[in-house]
């Protein structure tokens, strides 16, 4: 009576059952590899896990709380990361980025390119401000990490996980380059980056923003503020308009590549956050249930109002650093105008304003 190995004729293909996952409602016409990899791995009492959680926390709390964010949505599981990255594709992408940086570092070291760096750039800018910038990346990692635990769906959790790890990768890439430079340039003392991050006036407002984000408890607030304010204004001003653009003219071939890989990650994140904001400001979800769009938009505007001024202070404080290198491809104020215009345009998509 028992079946052994296959006797193909015995088994109708599919045996009255679809050969595709049935528990996922695809966002498009067909289930994607990305959706199959992540959708509904997170148990949820509003989907399939009827009857509640089997264990309350010692303080009586549930595993996931709708109150973990001020934004409301009838079904956070409908979120889809527009990059469609899952672990395999993410890992492949990051391995490519890291190989590029590592190969460049090898060449730079092997061919003596590092000796061509402007001495002031290496000792005063990279050792202090670039290394200081790695602290900002670490802080963003720690802030986003909190959102990983609290996020109310698996697709959001995975997107935030990759974003947090991006920041760690950037931090480590800068740290590794710093070590190379210390070996190349005698007399760069260890710890200049920390000193700069903790005490230099150019970074104190940025540190204030990052520390506040590290202490934030609303996971959507962390995700949104990082995605539409900190990244487009602060990280783009410092990472792109300062380090990437200034490095080339100061004989530094490595910093631009690190910066470009980070920019690619930030752009991916911006699109992911945009999708989240579209989801919470839509009038209805995918199944037609109402979304409190107006209330959510008000929450988003609250966050922008609360975080805009400190982020502005952070970018303004950094502007004097634009005047330090001997070779200057761009004026700080012009770079500031560019990043502010970009941020305003992004917020305008959602009828939100940068009021500062």
């Amino acid at each position: 009576m028992s079946g052994g190995g296959l006797v193909p004729a015995d088994v109708a293909d599919g045996f009255y059952s679809p050969r595709e996952l049935t528990y996922i409602q695809p966002a498009g016409r067909r289930l994607s590899d990305y959706e199959a990899a992540i959708c509904h791995v997170q148990p949820d009492v509003n989907h399939y896990d009827f009857g509640g959680w089997l264990l309350a926390a010692p303080d009586g709390k549930s595993l996931f709380e709708a109150s973990s964010t001020r934004l409301r949505h009838p079904d956070w599981f409908q979120y889809r990361d527009p990059s469609s990255l899952w672990q395999r594709t993410y890992m492949r992408q990051q391995a490519v980025e890291e190989r590029a940086v590592a190969a460049l570092l090898d060449s730079a070291r092997g061919n003596g390119y590092l000796a061509d760096l402007d001495g002031f750039w290496a000792r005063e800018i990279l050792a202090r401000y670039h290394q200081g910038y790695a602290f900002l990346e670490w802080g963003l990692f720690l802030a986003l990490n909190r959102a990983i635990r609290l996020a109310l769906s698996d697709t959001l959790t995975m997107m935030i996980t990759f974003t947090a790890v991006d920041r760690l990768r950037h931090q480590q890439a800068i740290a590794m380059y710093g070590l190379e430079l210390e070996q190349e340039f005698d007399g760069i003392p260890d710890g200049l980056g920390r000193e700069t991050w903790l005490a230099d006036p150019a970074y104190q407002p940025a540190r204030r923003v990052v520390e506040r984000l590290m202490a934030a408890e609303d996971w959507c607030e962390i995700v949104v503020v990082c995605g539409v304010l900190v990244d487009p204004l602060l990280s783009t001003l410092v990472g792109r308009h300062f380090f990437r653009r200034f490095a080339s003219v100061n004989g530094d071939p490595v910093t631009p590549v690190i910066a470009i890989t980070a920019e690619r990650d930030r752009l991916r994140y911006l699109k992911a956050v945009r999708t989240l904001m579209e989801m919470v400001t839509a009038e209805a979800d995918r199944t037609g249930r109402p979304v409190p769009a107006a209330a959510n938009r008000a929450v988003l505007q609250d966050w922008i109002d609360a975080w805009g001024p400190p982020v502005r202070a952070a970018i303004d404080a950094f502007l004097p650093v634009f005047d330090l290198p001997s070779m200057r491809p761009v004026v700080g104020d012009d770079a500031r105008d560019v990043v502010v215009a970009g941020c305003v345009a992004e917020l305008d998509r959602f009828d939100l304003e940068l009021r500062w």
Binding site: M1, S2, G3, L6, V11, A12, G14, F15, Y16, S17, P18, E20, L21, T22, Y23, A36, A37, I38, V41, Q42, P43, D49, G51, G52, W53, L54, L55, A56, A57, P58, S62, L63, Q87, R88, R92, Q94, A95, E98, V101, L142, N145, R149, L150, T157, V165, L168, R169, Q171, Q172, A175, M176, L179, Q183, W197, L198, R207, E211, M214, A215, E217
Partner: protein
């Protein structure tokens, strides 16, 4: 990098003590954690992504190219393939819980060495989650019977037995003090049980002509070894503070019990009842991986630091002999509500089980004899009728309160101050319940569906195949229409799901304050 030690040290130097805004962890811990300790992972992300990319290429390459082209999942033993449905839906749940558990640890544990380990593990766990869902979809496409693979992550939630898995490997992995979760996930789950899951399942799968599962599981297990190092580093850090010891011992005791009570019964069913080609019994695997390697090699080495072997270990060791068999019998009796087919036992199965578990035939043989008779719908009887009733489910672990064996069970029934009735499967679960009854208020499967017609339940949770009649669950592996149970067969029998607690007079039960 020229000097890896320097590089590893350098990347950990970017944390700082905030001045502008005080940061409180999401969840405070009751443990004291030293600010510095030994680095268990020592990976740069640069090395990590290169290593994992290569491992991904090997695994996905094997599945996409070789296994699919040779149509090898179709040649695997059908009985073995059935049990991958609940097995993979359980492991996926655990892996994903571990992602969030690691995030929680990173948030709470202000120690750069431990944090580096947790971050890498967090990525690993997301990797394993995706690998296992990939395998589930892969088997939906290629296995002889896709039913149950294609619904694995929804069906797991409503299954009376697999629902308990969520308690053991999701809720408990997350909804505690983060360091308590670390003990649960890393110290007991990974160091204790992953070999019993991933290594044992790999060799059994290979012996049963299933090449897909080993490709994924061995790949995963290569990461688990590092996670065990994470758990050990966490334990060492906690043991460095003598004040932690009593709390740690309590957490350790509870963690082993909570994982055992589901996992050992479940794995007993998986390894003793589903392979056609058998290698070792679950008890033999348990003796090797849990008793000798984990208790003997890992836990006992901690004795000089004051940590003792978990409190209920001797009991657990005894229970392993029978828990899986009782669970298998119940699971088989409940076959209509499963998303897998539960095969009959053949004479060679009887001989094997009696040899490995002397006395098995006396306790379980009659059930399996009659189960075989009742497998044919023409006989018009459900195996459920072979047991007196579905036993009450434990309020703490949600497992049936007849473990390890009905005649050995120490079930207790109690009521709380509000008069609500609770079944508790054992002294350990009662101990946990009495510590904090408010934490265990979730309705059991029997309470949720008490009074519902079985056929209605089956239809409601989607356990009918696309022809609209044939059930997903079957009490054998036949595919001939005349041997297949349909919803009409169930409807005809008019079976009602009954919670045996329904008619127990609450006033007769002892009160738990």
């Amino acid at each position: 990098m020229r000097d890896l030690d320097t590089a590893h040290a350098r990347i950990k130097e970017y944390a700082w003590e905030p001045d502008y805004f005080a940061r409180r962890p999401m969840r405070e811990t009751k443990y004291k954690i030293p600010r510095r300790s030994k680095d268990p992972f020592r990976h740069l992300l640069r090395d990590y992504v290169a290593m994992e990319e290569e491992k991904d290429n090997r695994q996905y390459g094997a599945l996409e190219d070789v296994v699919a082209r040779t149509r090898s999942p179709e040649r695997a033993q059908h009985r073995w393939m059935e049990v991958l449905k609940p097995l993979l839906s359980m492991t996926t749940c655990a892996e994903y819980a571990a992602v969030k558990c690691m995030a929680s640890l990173v948030d709470t544990v202000d120690n750069p060495e431990l944090r580096q380990g947790y971050v890498a593990q967090m990525l690993d766990e997301m990797r394993h989650t995706n690998q296992e869902t990939y395998l589930i979809r892969y088997l939906s496409r290629h296995a002889p019977d896709p039913a149950g693979f294609n619904s694995a992550l929804s069906s797991r939630s409503v299954n009376p037995l697999i629902r308990a898995a969520r308690g053991a490997v999701f809720d408990v992995f997350l909804n505690e003090d983060p360091l308590t979760c670390s003990v649960q996930v890393q110290v007991v789950g990974e160091a204790g049980y992953t070999n019993a899951v991933f290594v044992a399942a790999t060799e059994i799968a290979a012996a049963n002509d299933d090449p897909a599962t080993p490709s994924v599981f061995l790949n995963i297990q290569s990461d688990e070894v590092r996670h065990m190092a994470n758990g050990y580093a966490t334990l060492s850090a906690l043991l460095a503070e003598p004040d932690n010891l009593p709390t740690l011992q309590r957490d350790f005791d509870a963690a082993f019990w909570r994982l055992h009570v589901f996992m050992d019964s479940f794995l007993g069913v998986v390894y003793d009842y589903f392979p056609k080609v058998r290698l070792r019994s679950y008890r033999e695997y348990w003796e090797q991986w849990i008793w000798q390697d984990w208790i003997g090699g890992y836990v006992e080495r901690l004795a000089p630091f004051g940590l003792e072997v978990p409190r209920w270990t001797e009991r657990i060791r005894n229970d392993v002999a029978w828990g899986g068999h009782t669970c298998a019998m119940l699971a088989a009796a409940l076959w209509p509500v499963h998303y897998w087919r539960h095969d009959v036992m053949e004479p060679d199965d009887f001989a094997y089980l009696e040899e490995k578990y002397p006395g098995w035939e006396r306790y379980y043989g009659p059930f399996w004899e009659q189960y075989r008779e009742m497998a044919d719908p023409a006989n018009g009887a459900l195996a459920l009728s072979l047991i007196e009733s579905i036993p009450p489910l434990c309020r703490v672990c949600h497992m049936p309160t007849v473990l390890p064996r009905p005649d050995l069970a120490d079930t207790r029934l109690v009521r709380d101050a509000d008069g609500r009735k609770h079944a508790l499967c054992s002294e350990p679960c009662e101990t946990l319940f009495r510590e904090a009854p408010w934490r265990y208020q979730c309705a059991t499967w029997l309470e949720l569906y008490d009074g519902m017609d079985l056929a209605e339940y089956i239809e409601r949770v989607g356990l009918v195949r696309t022809d609209g009649r044939t059930l997903v669950g079957q009490p054998q592996l036949q595919t001939d229409e005349k041997h297949l149970w349909t919803i009409d067969d169930i409807r005809r029998l008019g079976v009602e799901i009954r919670d045996p607690l329904r008619h127990v007079d609450a006033t007769t039960l002892p009160v738990v304050a």
